[in-house]
Structures are given as C-alpha cells and as structure tokens.
C-alpha cells in the first residue's frame, strides 16, 4: 500500500516535472521577435565604463539616457525597451569581444557606447562589419565620423578636434606665442593635442614641445619639471576623469599654476571640480557645454537630472540625454520599426536637437555641428564666458559620406 502510494506520487511528481520542462523548452522556441517586429522589446546595448577611471562618466551617460527616454514615456517609437548593460572597463583589448557579445550574443538593435576612444574604435569596426546601429555618446576619436564614417554610425557628443582646435585659436588670440602640450599616449590624446596645435598655429603661435605618458599613468612629476624647464607661454593638457583631477592638482602643487597658464578642453575640469578644489580656480577651458547656460532646456535638464539621480549634471550626462533624444526622434519617425533602416537613418540625420547645450544639427558625417564655448572655473562651476567659435563642424577627413 505504502509503496504504491509512493510510486504513484513519485510518478506524479516526475510527470509534473516533465510537463514543466516541456513547457519551458517549448516556450524557448517562441521567437523573441514577432514578424511585425513591433510588439517585442527594443534592445538597447549600453557598452560603457561602469568601472575604472571613467566610471563616473559612464554612470552619468547611462542615467541621462534613461532620463531622456523616460521623459517621453519610457518607450521608443511605441515599443518598450530592454536595456542591456556591459562594462567595457575602458579596455581596448577587450573592445571587439565585448561589442560582438552585444551584437551576436544579446542581439541588440542599437549599440550605445563608449567613452574611451580606443574602445570606440573597436565598436566602430564591429558596427561596420555587422551593420549594427551604433550611437557614440562620448568617445571623440575623429575616425568614427571621419575615415570610418558609415550610415549606421552616429555621434551625439563631439570629436576631440572640436574643443581642442577652438582652444588653440583662443590661446593664440590671447597673445600667447609658445605652448607645450601634454596628454596620455593614446588616440584621443594625440588628436586633442594635434588639433590644439593646428588652431594655435593658425592663430600665429607655435607648439614647442609635446609630452606624452602611457595611459592611465598618473605619475606626472618628471613631465611637470620638463614643462617648467621649457617655459612656454601656455600649457595645454588633455586628461579626463581621475587623471584630470590629479594633473590639475599636481600642476598647482608644482607651482606652475601661477606662472604658466594651463588650458585644456573642458574634460580637464568637468565633473572634477570638487576633487580639484582650489587648484582649478580660474582655469580656462573650451567645450560645447558650460555651466550657467541659460537655455530653458538646459535649466530643465539639470533640474530633472538632479531630481532623478541626486547628482549635478555634467557634459557627459548631457551626451547621454541627447543620445536619448536622437533615438526618440529616429524611432518615432519609423514607428519603432528598426528594420526600416534607410528611413530610420534619414530621420536620425534630420534630427534638430533641442539640447541643453543649445540647438544643434548633425553634419553629413553624423557628428554635431555646434557652438564651442569658452569657460572659466569659478567655485565649483565652469562658468560660460563667451562663444569661442560658432557652429564648428569637424573636418571629417576621409569620410566618404560628405
């Protein structure tokens, strides 16, 4: 009697398990995307630095992107969204593998990333090879909208060339004749210092020395000594994140702050002022964003970002926000149908951004044509001084779409 009950109940349990397993197996055959392609969730692959020296930037981009989309109802083109995040660790060596993981493994509709220009290049190559939509919310490497430009690649931020060239022109116009440039020895660093030299030379100045150190090394002491020995009229430095904090502090600690003015693109002082404190006061930088911009959109954006995250918005958050705006406008035009690629691209190209930085459009190479502002550090803010260059477009050397 007991045995029969046991066997019977065991059989029942096994049957139940088999049914359950069968159901699970069967449901996995249900396609993730229906034929119409509009009921399934839109997959956004966010490949950003969630750890490492650029972690704060990655976080701000992510939060602001979601803010932009949630402000418009949390859907793109009427479709719900699935966010897939991947930490790229700012490691170019892993860039291609990570990008492929998003494209082939997670089958994302859009790749969004990243900050480190080396990793951006890896993503650009994968996007071109697999014809996946890619929106770059930060990394300023020129080739992404230059020699390697493509219809499916967009950028909502800047090229390293834009703020650097503007700074070169500003420094030359201020009467400086000689400059020393210093940065990390990677793509973004070289592009930034070369662009500064271009603008500076066009304004009548001359870069007398170029100093580089390996990324992400922050031992600046020998090079600071070298800057002092060279005695230029101005120093131009490109660093971002933790490196920017340390460089500005070390520059001041070496006594150079009072004798050789330090300038740079806005990344030197964006998101870093609290850590830099007194050492950053009075620094002039150029960027396509500034504190104290009175556009209504900027005021609204900063308030909303502070409300949802508790942190102050910065240029990186703004990039994330505009990336969201780009996706919203593109997908609205095609009603969420990512398969209508030509229409989607056309709609994205025509987007007029009502951005916290001001109104801007995209160039034929899919990079912003925007005003570059001159800013000066006062307290904890990079205050707007004036427009350095209006509607500056990256030359997009080598792009076949222009």
């Amino acid at each position: 009697m007991t045995i029969e009950t046991k066997t019977a109940s065991r059989r029942r349990v096994l049957k139940g398990l088999a049914a359950g397993a069968g159901l699970a197996a069967a449901s996995s055959f249900v396609p993730a995307r229906f034929a119409i392609g509009q009921q399934a969730k839109l997959r956004l692959g966010l490949m950003l630095p969630y750890t490492g020296t650029y972690a704060a930037l990655g976080k701000n981009i992510d939060d602001a992107l979601r803010l932009a989309i949630n402000e418009k109802g949390g859907k793109l083109g009427g479709r719900a969204i699935e966010y897939i995040t991947l930490d790229d660790e700012s490691d170019p060596a892993k860039g291609a593998d990570n990008a492929n993981k998003l494209v082939s493994g997670d089958k994302v509709d859009f790749m969004i990333g990243t900050v480190h220009s080396g990793v951006v290049m890896a993503m650009v190559k994968v996007a071109r090879d697999t014809d996946t939509m890619l929106v770059i919310p930060n990394g300023g490497v020129g080739a992404a909208t230059g020699a390697l430009c493509a219809p499916n690649i967009f950028r909502t931020s800047f090229t390293n060339w834009q703020p650097a060239y503007a700074m070169g022109k500003v420094a030359a116009a201020e009467g400086r004749k000689t400059a020393v440039v210093i940065s990390w020895d990677y793509a973004a660093g070289k592009e930034s210092t070369d662009a500064f030299t271009q603008g500076f030379t066009e304004g009548g100045g001359k870069t007398i020395k170029e100093l580089f150190l390996p990324f992400p090394n922050v031992e600046f002491q020998p090079l600071l000594t070298e800057i002092a020995a060279t005695k230029p009229d101005v120093s131009y430095a490109f660093f971002a994140g933790g490196g920017a904090v340390k460089f500005v502090k070390d520059y001041a600690a070496a006594g150079l702050g009072t004798t050789i003015p330090l300038v740079g693109p806005g990344f030197l002082t964006d998101g870093t002022l609290e850590a830099q404190g007194a050492s950053a006061q009075g620094l002039e930088t150029t960027l396509h964003y500034a504190d104290g911009l009175t556009f209504p959109k900027n005021i609204a954006f900063r308030a909303a970002f502070k409300k949802t995250t508790g942190r102050d918005a910065d240029v990186y958050a703004m990039h994330g926000y505009d990336t969201g705006s780009l996706l919203i406008s593109g997908l609205a035009a095609v009603k969420g149908d990512v398969k209508a690629r030509a229409a989607l691209v056309a709609a994205m190209e025509k987007t007029v951004f009502n951005s916290p930085r001001g109104r801007f459009t995209l160039s034929k190479a899919h990079n912003p044509i925007q005003d570059i502002y001159l800013r000066k550090v006062k307290g904890l803010e990079n205050l707007y001084v004036r427009v350095a260059i209006k509607d500056l477009a990256d030359p997009a050397i080598g792009c076949k779409m222009t």
Binding site: T51, G52, T53, P216, V218, A228, A229, G242, V245, L256
Partner: protein, 293 residues
C-alpha cells in the same frame, strides 16, 4: 647656476625619489628571493594591498598617518599567515612550484581586491602637514610630500642596513643564506628567521604602497607594473643583495625619469635596455653571486 642645470638637478631629484620608493619594494623581493630562495610573483600584490589598505583606512580615520600605523601591523600579520599556510611547504621545492603558487596568489588577491574594494580608481589625500610645496626656481615648486617619501625611504634603507649588518637576526639571515643546514645544526631556529624575513618583505612592499598612494593613486593592476620593475632591479642589483637593490633602484629610477623626458616613445624600453647592459657586464648582477650583504 644656469637654469637648465637647475632643471637637470630637479629631474635627478625626481629620479632619485622614484628610485627610493622602488627600493622599498625591491628590497623585500630580493630578501625573499635571496634568503628564502622563493620566487615571489605576488610581491606586487603586497604593494597593491598596502595601497588599498591605506585608502580604506584613510577613509575610516581621516588621516594617512593613522592609516599607516594601523595598516603596517595588519600587513605583517597577513605576511606571517601567508608564510605559515602557503610558503613554508615550498622552501625545499623547485622554483616552478613557487612560480605556480605565487602566480595563483596574484589572481586570488586581484579578485579579492575587486570584490572588497571594487574596480574604481581612488585617490588618497596628502596628509595636511605635508601638503605644501617648496619653491625651487622661478616657475617650479617641489611638493613637500615627495621629499617626505624620499626621507622615509632613506631612513628605512638605513634601518635595513643596520638590521642586516649589526643585529643577531641579521647575522642569522646572512648565515642562513649561505648555509641553512649549518645554521640549524648550530641551534638557531632557521624557520623563525625565514618567518621574520618573509614578514619583513611583505611589510616593506605594503608600506611602499601606503606612502606612494597619494602620488600614484590606487587602481586595479597597480601591483603588476611595479612587480616587473622590481624584478629588473633585483636582477640588476644581484639576488639577495640589499646594497644591489639600493643601487639598482636608483639606476632604474633615474633611467625611467630621464627616459620619459628625453625619449618618451622609448620610455617603456629604457629600463630593460639598462638591465641588458648591466647583465652583459656583470651576469650575476652588480653585487650578485654572494649571500646577502
């Protein structure tokens, strides 16, 4: 004094400072390698451990000095535990086993660091009373903290020399490096000597990480960089030689600093070129081929 000569001297100062810090790490490595005959690949991880401990305890206590006072005993205890658990079985074994173990130790310590502290880059503030700069020339000042680091390293170097040359422990260390069995048969507890040396090596590396934290930042993988350079120093200076480690570190510090300034593209290579040159001249290193002195 001409301006460019002044700057040359300042760069020498930079190189010396870098070398002195490197000496702390390399001296520990050369002791462990020379006396215990153990290849300790995890030595860079002890440096990283010191830096992260300094960061965490400075957050807790608000002052780097208290943090160091707390962290050094912690590092010594950690060293003693490691020695008892992992290294003791390996003293008599082939070097390959030691490489395998210590490599595994690197991986374990990296992951533990990732779990406990995360992967972000951290800064540590310079202690207030050293947070000023000394005016050197018209344009350049030198941060007092860096001078403080160099002074600290020199004191420790002196202390090490005293220890090795003038104390009974030092005598036992030098004797044990020459002939372990004879030392044991003379009634000296060699195991205790080994324990002390290992703990000393760990403490030196960790202390280096702690005082370097404000100038070098605290970040993942920081141990690997210094490990490789330390091995170069040990090879150049001669295995087991503190004098050699001192000279070798200074040479490497100067080579690296001037390499960065004069030939930045080759900066990564200068130290290895230097190592090759020294080995061609003295294959056993500058003071190698003998017991620790």
């Amino acid at each position: 004094m001409s301006d460019s000569f002044v700057f040359f001297l300042i760069q020498v100062l930079n190189g010396v400072q870098e070398g002195l810090l490197l000496f702390l790490v390399a001296s520990g490595l050369t002791l462990i390698f020379g006396i215990l005959r153990v290849i300790n690949l995890a030595h860079g991880s002890f440096y990283m451990l010191g830096a992260y401990l300094a960061y965490a305890l400075t957050q807790l206590t608000g002052n780097l000095f208290f943090a160091i006072l707390l962290a050094v005993p912690l590092a010594i205890v950690f060293g003693l535990a490691l020695e008892a658990l992992l290294f003791r079985p390996l003293y008599a074994r082939d070097h390959l086993y030691q490489v395998l173990l210590t490599y595994g130790l690197i991986l374990v310590l990296e992951e533990t660091r990732s779990l406990v502290f995360g992967d972000d880059v951290h800064g540590v503030d310079v202690p207030h009373f050293l947070d000023f700069s000394i005016h050197l020339t018209g344009a350049l000042s030198y941060p007092a903290y860096r001078l403080g680091i160099s002074a600290m390293c020199l004191i420790i170097a002196g202390g090490l020399w005293l220890l090795i040359q003038k104390t009974r422990l030092g005598m036992a260390i030098r004797a044990g490096a020459s002939n372990r069995e004879m030392v044991q048969s003379l009634g000296i507890d060699i195991a205790w000597v080994y324990r002390a040396v290992f703990a000393l090596g760990v403490a030196l590396a960790a202390f280096a990480g702690m005082i370097a934290a404000p100038v070098a930042s605290v970040f993942p993988g920081m141990g690997n960089q210094i490990l490789i350079i330390s091995f170069v120093v040990v090879v150049i200076g001669g295995i087991g030689s503190i004098k050699g480690a001192f000279l070798g570190s200074l040479l490497i510090g100067l080579a690296d600093t001037f390499g960065q300034v004069f030939a930045p593209q080759l900066a990564g290579m200068t130290v290895y070129v230097l190592m090759a040159a020294v080995l061609l001249w003295r294959p056993a290193g500058l003071f190698g081929g003998r017991a620790a002195r």
